[in-house]
Each structure stands twice: as C-alpha cells, then as structure tokens.
C-alpha cells in the first residue's frame, strides 16, 4: 500500500505582471494531497485558488505570468522544472484538470468523441479504433445518454451538464493519479450539480485517484472533502480535516467565513458579513494579509505568520500569530 502523497506543493509562488511590475498572486503556497484523498481548496473569488491549480498544471498564461519559486512534486518529479515535452506527457496522463466553464472548455469544431479519444491517443498506446471504443465506453460510464449515437456530435449539441460530464470523461480517461477540479459545478443548475458531484465521487471511489476540489461553496466542501485548505488573498491560511474545520475553525478568516454563511437553522439576523475588503494584488501588505479586517489583530501581525501545525492536532495548520499554539475552541 503506497502511503506516499499523490501531490506535494511546496512554497509555490506565482506572479503576474501588472503595469510593468511583478506581483505575487499566490505566495508560498504549501500543501499535500494524500493518495486517495479529496482536498478541498476553499476561498472567496480572487483568492488564488484557480491560479494555484493552473500553476500546478503549469498552465499559467505565459504572456504576463510566471511561477517565481517553489516546487510541485508529482511522484517525486518536480513539475516546475519539467520542459514542455515532459509536461505534455504528464498533463492528461498522470495529472488532469477539470475546468469551471463547460460551455467554453470544449472545442466547438471538433466532435466530443474525438476530444475524449484524443487524450487516449497521446498517453496510451491504443490505436485509433481502440481509443474510439474506449472513449465510447467512458462516455457511457459518465452517463451520457445515447452515447454511441452522439459520439460524433459537437459540443453545442449538448447541455452544460452533459458537457461537464464529457470533461470529466476526458480528464479521467487515462486514469490519472490526481485530478484538479476547478469549481466544476459552479456554472451548473443546482440539480445538475448534485448529479455531477455524485458522478465524481463514484469515479473517485472506483479509480482511487486523489482529488483537489476547488470551490467557494462550503456546503459542497462539507459533503465531499476529506481535508480542507482555506485560502485568503493568495495565502493558505488554514488546513484541517473537514470535520475539524467546521467544528473548530482556528483562523479568524475561517471563523468569519463560516458565520457569514446563511444557514437554515440560524436566523437571518445572525448573518455577519466580513467588514472590509481583500487587498488588491498590487497593494498586498507584507505581513498578515487578513490583519486589516481581523478582530484579533496584534502588533506582531505586521510580520507574516508562518503556517504551523497546532500542538493539539498535527493535521490542523493555521497561519496566525494569535491562534497558532492555542488549544482554544472557536469563538
């Protein structure tokens, strides 16, 4: 039984050039994903979750973005150091990604069956006919109705939910070790969301792959994640097993996040939006980025706190001067 992690992200920093200067969109991002684990990467829009995923896949737009430092270890190989040819062999094979917008993520002029079979042609030794057969099986497996008849249909002939299933089939075709799913259900109807999530869970159980699930929806997190990493303004501020996070959030941001969500069992009057705003990428403070909005702010917060594990629970890490080392419960 292989207990080595599926993916290790080590102090990854990605920068973007804005008006001629480089600014870090994500800073020193570190986390590990276990072999069969689902890690949820959570945070509000703009916190850097997608950039983290794109950086892992080395798909950051080269025109004005770059990975400044850090390592991404997949099976011991550092993806950051690979050249284009090696990357092409890895992407879609050992590591795959599902994107947020099913309406635009499939090529409109190529049939969907072809797009699925294509992955197989490049990562396995299957012949064209074999790849076609396998692709058809995959499409049936993700429950595309009349898959055989629709194999050569084009993306515009499918609904959003169907297209996302095709994306999932494509991503899982070569049985990757780890899949990154960037808000795969956000653009879908709520009822379709549930179906797609169930599909993902089923496939994950079958293949035993690891999954990084990016979302801003804490409800989804609660239902599918094993562990959670919370991001704020380009920093990982807390990582914990899912129940721990919901029961005993440590980072002030996580706490605020959880109490700002409307819940059926709470009065609407109890809603507490977080005061203030996320600092813009061009004007990031050098210290703790949440400090401006944090009720617990102390002087020390002007320097950046490290991400440390709690003494009481080594699986629970927090980036906070005040809370790290505290055995306390949530507010």
């Amino acid at each position: 039984m292989n207990s080595a992690p599926a993916l290790v992200v080590d102090r990854l920093t990605t920068e973007f050039r804005i008006d001629g200067r480089w600014h870090a969109a994500i800073r020193d991002v570190s986390f590990t994903v276990g072999r069969h684990e689902t890690l949820a990467l959570v945070g509000e829009s703009g916190c850097g979750k997608s950039i983290t995923a794109l950086s892992i896949m080395r798909l950051v737009p080269r025109a004005n973005g770059r990975i400044a430092s850090g390592r991404v270890l997949l099976d011991g190989r550092d993806l950051v150091q690979l050249d284009e040819a090696e990357l092409e062999a890895t992407r879609g094979g050992a590591i795959a990604m599902i994107f947020q917008e099913p309406m635009t993520s499939l090529n409109p002029v190529l049939p969907i069956g072809f797009q699925v079979a294509e992955t197989l042609r490049y990562h396995t030794k299957l012949s064209a006919a074999e790849a076609r057969a396998k692709a058809l099986a995959l499409l049936e497996h993700v429950k595309i109705p009349s898959a055989r008849r629709r194999f050569d249909d084009y993306p515009h002939q499918f609904s959003g939910g169907m297209r996302q299933r095709v994306m999932i089939a494509m991503a899982l075709a070569c049985k990757p070790q780890i899949v990154l799913a960037d808000e795969p259900t956000t653009a879908l109807d709520v009822t379709i969301q549930a179906q797609v999530l169930a599909l993902l869970a089923e496939l994950k159980a079958e293949t035993g792959m690891a999954l990084i699930f990016i979302t801003h929806n804490l409800g989804v997190v609660a239902s599918i994640a094993d562990r959670v990493a919370v991001m704020y303004a380009g920093d990982i501020v807390e990582t914990a097993p899912v129940t721990t996070l919901f029961e005993r959030p440590m980072h002030p941001y996580t706490e605020a996040l959880l109490s700002s969500i409307p819940r059926v069992d709470r009065d609407a009057g109890d809603l507490k939006p977080i005061a203030g705003q996320v600092p813009p990428i061009t004007a990031m403070p050098a210290g703790c980025r949440y400090a401006d909005r944090c009720p617990l702010r102390i002087e020390r917060c002007a320097t950046r706190p490290p991400l440390v594990a709690l003494p009481s629970d080594p699986r629970h890490e927090v980036r906070c001067w005040v809370r790290a080392g505290e055995p306390g419960a949530s507010a």
Partner: protein, 313 residues
C-alpha cells in the same frame, strides 16, 4: 451537411432575384434621366424620346420589370450602345481575364497571409510578429493604384523584368502568364495584408480561449494544438474577410487593370461610364449582382465546412 448546402442554394435564388430587382430600380429610379445622361442636355426632345423608346423606358414599370427579368434570366443583356455588339459577348470576352486575376490574387493572399498571420500570433511580440504587423500595415495603407504604379515603376520600368505594357499574345501562353504576374502581385499583396491581420488577431483570440487551455491540459502537443485545435476556430473570421474582400477586390481590380492596361471587367466598367454606354452599364450591374450572390453562397458553404455549428441551421 447536404441539407445545409441545399438550403443555401434555395436561399440564393430569392436573394438573386432581390438583388436583380435592386439593380432594376437603381438604374430607373436614380435621379437623372438616362436619355439625358446619354445624349446630353442639348439633345432634341425627339432624340430623347427615341432613346427612351429604344431602352424601353417609355413602357409602364411593371412591364419593364417583367421584360428586364425575363431577358436577364435568359441571358440576353442587350446590345452595347457604343460597340453595338452583344453586351454579354463583350463581358464574356473579358471575364476570363478578371477571373484569373482574382483567383490568383486570392490564392496569393491566403497562401502567404494565413501562415504569416498564424506565425505572428504564435511568436507574439517577437521579431516575426513585428515584421508581419508592419507589412500588413503598409499593405493596407497603399491604395491599389498606388501600389500598382510602384510595382510598375520598380519591376517593369526600372528593372525591365516585365514588359511595361503587358499583353497576352495568342499562341504564346507564357505571355499570358507574364502579363498576370504584376497585377496579381498587386492585388495579392494587398490581400496578404488583410488576411495576415485577421488571421493573426483571430488566432490570438482563439489561443486565449478556454478550450485551448483544455487541450493543453490534456497534454496535446503544441503543434497539434495550433494546427488542429486552434486553426479550425481561427479560420472562421478569415473566411468572412476573404468573402467580403472579394467585393473590394473588384474595385481594386478596376484600378489594377487601368494601371497595367489589362483587359477585364474593371476597364469595361470605366469605359462604359465614360462613354455613357447605358445598356452595358446595366449589363455589368447584372453580372455584378450574380457575382455577389455566388460569392456569398461560396462563403456560406465554406462556413459550413469550417464551422459545424453553422451546419445545423
């Protein structure tokens, strides 16, 4: 696909009739009595009436329309007022020259412009991109007759590579070819400018699309991403531009034919305008109507080949 082709053909017919109707009304409703235009304002009323009768202008509108449509659609375009030969004959004599010029220019434009634009998009902001952009900027800034004169000056007058007055001599097929080079280059290079531009920006747009990111995330090799994933989508606006440019090409070919003294529809148009050859003008406009419809049809069919979403309509 077949249904799409049939549908397009069926739509083309009423379109043709509509455009022909526009041609009909244009020459009759536009201000300026054709008889006056032809004979000048010194003409006697009898002469004017005679011309009007000859042109059939004294008959009631619906009758004129019926006559017009029936004669046009049976291929009878009347007789030239100047040469007194069949209009259709005159046009048919020069049509091959215009067609060979247009087709060659188109081929040059696409064969050079498309790869150039794609390469410029791939090597964005590097040397090749700048060269391509400067070249297309220049190509767009030269009016067709200016570039024609420059080519004539450079290659015929100064370098003597080509005859200054190039004529195709019967029995010497090579002379037809040499007579084609400079004019085709003139029109072709301008077309390269247009095609490079639209190919580049279209490609740049496509390369930023989500589905390209998906292809890369699948590990598709870069070369395949460009030629199979990106190009198919990038071609769509290129087809539009080529289709539209064919209309402008006619205007430019008029100028080119004048500068290089080459037979063609362009010369015919200008001559008949200068000589007030009314029936010839009308015949030319009819031909032009046909050309527009055919070009649109071809463009639509090409869309059908390139863009599967269009086929379903």
């Amino acid at each position: 696909m077949l249904t799409y082709v049939v549908k397009r053909l069926l739509v083309a017919i009423p379109t043709l009739l509509a455009v022909l109707t526009v041609v009909f009304f244009f020459v009759r409703i536009a201000p300026g009595d054709p008889a006056f235009i032809i004979l000048g304002d010194q003409a006697s009323p009898q002469a004017l009436a005679a011309v009007r009768q000859e042109l059939g202008l004294d008959k009631p509108m619906p009758v004129q329309y019926a006559e017009f449509m029936s004669t046009v659609l049976t291929g009878d375009l009347g007789t030239s007022m100047v040469t007194h030969r069949s209009v259709w004959r005159e046009i048919a004599n020069v049509l091959p020259y215009t067609i060979e010029l247009t087709v060659t220019a188109l081929a040059i434009g696409v064969a050079i412009g498309l790869p150039l634009g794609i390469a410029a998009a791939r090597h964005r902001n590097r040397a090749l991109d700048y060269v391509a952009r400067i070249f297309s900027l220049l190509g767009l800034s030269f009016p067709a007759f200016v570039s024609a004169i420059m080519l004539l000056l450079a290659f015929a007058i100064q370098l003597h590579w080509f005859p200054v007055i190039s004529e195709a001599r019967p029995g010497q097929p090579l002379s037809r070819l040499t007579a084609l080079v400079l004019p085709a280059l003139n029109l072709g290079l301008i077309m390269v400018a247009y095609v490079t531009r639209v190919a580049r920006s279209s490609m740049l747009g496509v390369l930023g699309e989500d589905y390209i990111r998906t292809a890369r995330a699948k590990g598709v090799p870069a070369r395949v991403v460009i030629w199979r994933h990106a190009l198919g989508n990038a071609l769509i606006p290129v087809v539009t531009v080529v289709g539209l440019y064919l209309g402008v090409l006619i205007g430019n070919s008029v100028l080119t034919e004048i500068v290089f003294n080459r037979p063609g529809l362009g010369k015919l148009i200008v001559n008949s305008l200068n000589q007030r050859d009314y029936t010839m003008l009308e015949g030319l406009m009819v031909i032009y109507a046909f050309i527009i419809v055919i070009v649109n049809l071809l463009t639509d069919l090409t869309y059908g080949v390139v863009d599967p979403r269009v086929r379903q309509r």
